[in-house]
């Protein structure tokens, strides 16, 4: 492996999306314009290329690893780059690990800058994973900035995974697909925050199968749609056994934006407890009024409400 040097655009993006401070502590793999700009394994986390020249890496976290953090950020720093990568995570039994997977796309020309990351998570029994993903689009070019993440999650018995995803600005189009299969007593928690403006388009799809007894999931998506942007939220939870599943889509809509929310629940057992909540609406006038009585202007009040909502 001969790493390509990290360019200044990448460095700036990494600071925003992955907490880069000039270095990463722990294991990491930095992907830049489809190349590798740095990689390090540790005793507990081994990062290796995928076999047979397929783009991407395998990340192996040792069983019982404690409080490891793995950074796998990706950047696209110019137009006419369509970066496709496959990252396979193998999390050993009882391991406790945080994965930071930010992505930034930048174009200063008319070419499209696109990142397409396909992540597969094989989470061993009793392991605990915290997955953080921040997306951002930047650059002055007319070219589109696209990020289309795919996450396939397999949680073994008693495994626990939290996904915390944020996309707040600059991404023209995103199509996010998350599928998960949970064994007994496994738990998946998803917190998604999304803001679209101008003509941006965002689509989110969740498909979760609660296969084992007492498995549980809690999917919460909060979004703000402004300008002429469009958002679509689809979620499907299947409960095969005694289990509990909850999904909530909460959207603030403004201007000429359009938001679609379509929940889908399949209970295949009388013991499956499945709930979906969806609420779409503009910022409540009384919320703005309350903050104005505290001395904020209408604009400041709106910003405060959105900031809290997407916190």
């Amino acid at each position: 492996m001969n790493p390509v040097p990290l360019n200044p655009i990448s460095e700036k993006l990494l600071r925003t999306v992955a907490g880069y401070t000039g270095q990463f502590k722990g294991a990491y793999n930095i992907r830049q314009d489809s190349g590798c700009a740095g990689r390090r394994s540790t005793d507990a986390v081994r990062i290796v290329p995928l076999p047979q020249g397929k783009p991407g890496i395998e990340i192996h976290v040792a069983p019982g690893a404690r409080d490891e953090t793995v950074y796998i950020p990706a950047t696209v720093t110019r137009g006419d780059v369509h970066d496709l990568t496959y990252n396979d995570f193998y999390i050993g039994e009882g391991a406790r690990v945080a994965i930071v997977a930010g992505c930034g796309v930048h174009t200063d020309d008319a070419g499209e800058a696109r990142h397409n990351g396909v992540h597969r998570f094989f989470v061993g029994r009793g392991a605990q994973v915290r997955y953080e993903e921040k997306h951002i689009g930047q650059g002055a070019g007319r070219g589109k900035r696209r990020i289309d993440p795919v996450s396939e999650i397999y949680l073994e018995e008693d495994a626990h995974m939290t996904m915390d995803t944020v996309q707040l600005s600059g991404v023209d189009a995103t199509d996010r697909v998350t599928t998960a299969t949970l064994r007994s007593r496994a738990v998946l928690v998803v917190r998604e925050r999304l803001m679209t403006t101008a003509d941006q388009v965002a689509r989110t799809r969740f498909d979760v199968v609660l296969e084992g007894a007492d498995a549980g999931c809690d999917l919460v998506s909060r979004s703000v749609a402004r300008g002429r942007s469009r958002q679509e939220f689809y979620s499907r939870i299947v409960g095969r056994e005694r289990c509990h599943g909850h999904s909530a889509c909460d959207a603030i809509i403004a201007d000429e934006a359009v938001v679609t929310a379509a929940p889908h629940l399949d209970a295949l057992s009388p013991e499956a407890a499945l709930i979906h909540e969806a609420a779409i609406g503009k910022i409540a006038g009384e919320q703005i009024l309350k903050l104005r009585t505290l001395g904020l202007t209408e604009e400041e009040a709106e910003a405060k409400i959105v900031e809290g909502f997407l916190k």
Binding site: T293, G295, L296, G308
Partner: protein, 240 residues
């Protein structure tokens, strides 16, 4: 001093809610506004805070005409308003709301002092969202704390007792008494005798008009007599 001069406020269909009301609220005193339901008390509070604008008439704060000032401008001038039905926010924490109200970051000790005044333990609430997870009583206390956090010269509370249990209410009465000692101008909309008991001034509003206004010692006997006799002193005209 807060002054309303010939203020009228009507619904779009022409129904008059506040009817040519002229009223002076003394500075640095606790005035309790009472009267029958639907008599215009909450509208009076909203007129002062700027949530609604008079159809006609003038509102003055000191010597300044604030009739045309909006909610934000009045808030910045030093008028605070505690909602009768508090507003809920997804994602805004109790600490976030109180810091917004105070206009600055609050230390843990300051948070404790503020929430303690309304009977809430900071440890339990500092990170809680001001959303549907709070009970009616809890959010009402947070609402009152948000007014206290501002520490403005004029504070209006619309039925602060609503939804608060007796134990907490006792504490709240003490808070209002303490604020009174500090010389803050307070207007409390209330039917609660405990609050009427600590008022400097009692104002009775009915059918959008001022019926009685005066020192507590002078007005209270009439209110109590009216209660025993089964009729409301609001039926009387000013000066009667």
């Amino acid at each position: 001093m807060l002054e309303l001069r010939n203020v009228t406020w009507s619904l779009p269909d022409g129904e008059v809610i506040i009817d040519d009301l002229t009223l002076s609220i003394p500075e640095g005193r606790l005035s309790v506004v009472t009267g029958p339901n639907g008599g215009g008390k909450t509208t009076l509070a909203k007129l002062i805070a700027g949530l609604v604008k008079p159809t006609s008439g003038q509102i003055l704060l000191g010597s300044r005409d604030i009739t045309e000032l909006d909610v934000t401008q009045r808030a910045r001038l030093g008028i605070s308003y505690g909602f009768q039905t508090p507003v809920r926010f997804k994602g805004l924490t109790v600490q976030g709301l109180l810091e917004t109200a105070a206009g600055r970051a609050l230390s843990f000790e300051e948070m404790c002092e503020l929430t303690g005044k309304v009977g809430l333990c900071t440890m339990d609430y500092i990170d809680r969202d001001v959303d549907a997870s709070l009970s009616g009583g809890e959010i009402k206390r947070v609402e009152i704390a948000s007014v206290l956090a501002r520490g403005t010269q004029v504070s209006i509370f619309d039925e602060p007792e609503a939804g608060i249990d007796l134990w907490s209410f006792n504490g709240l009465v003490d808070v209002f008494s303490a604020l009174k000692q500090r010389g803050m101008t307070m207007v409390i909309i209330s039917h609660q005798q405990r609050l009427l008991d600590i008022a400097d001034e009692i104002i009775v509003i009915s059918s959008g008009q001022l019926r009685v206004q005066g020192a507590r010692d002078r007005v209270m006997p009439g209110l109590l007599a009216g209660e025993i006799a089964g009729h409301c002193p609001a039926d009387r005209k000013v000066g009667a």
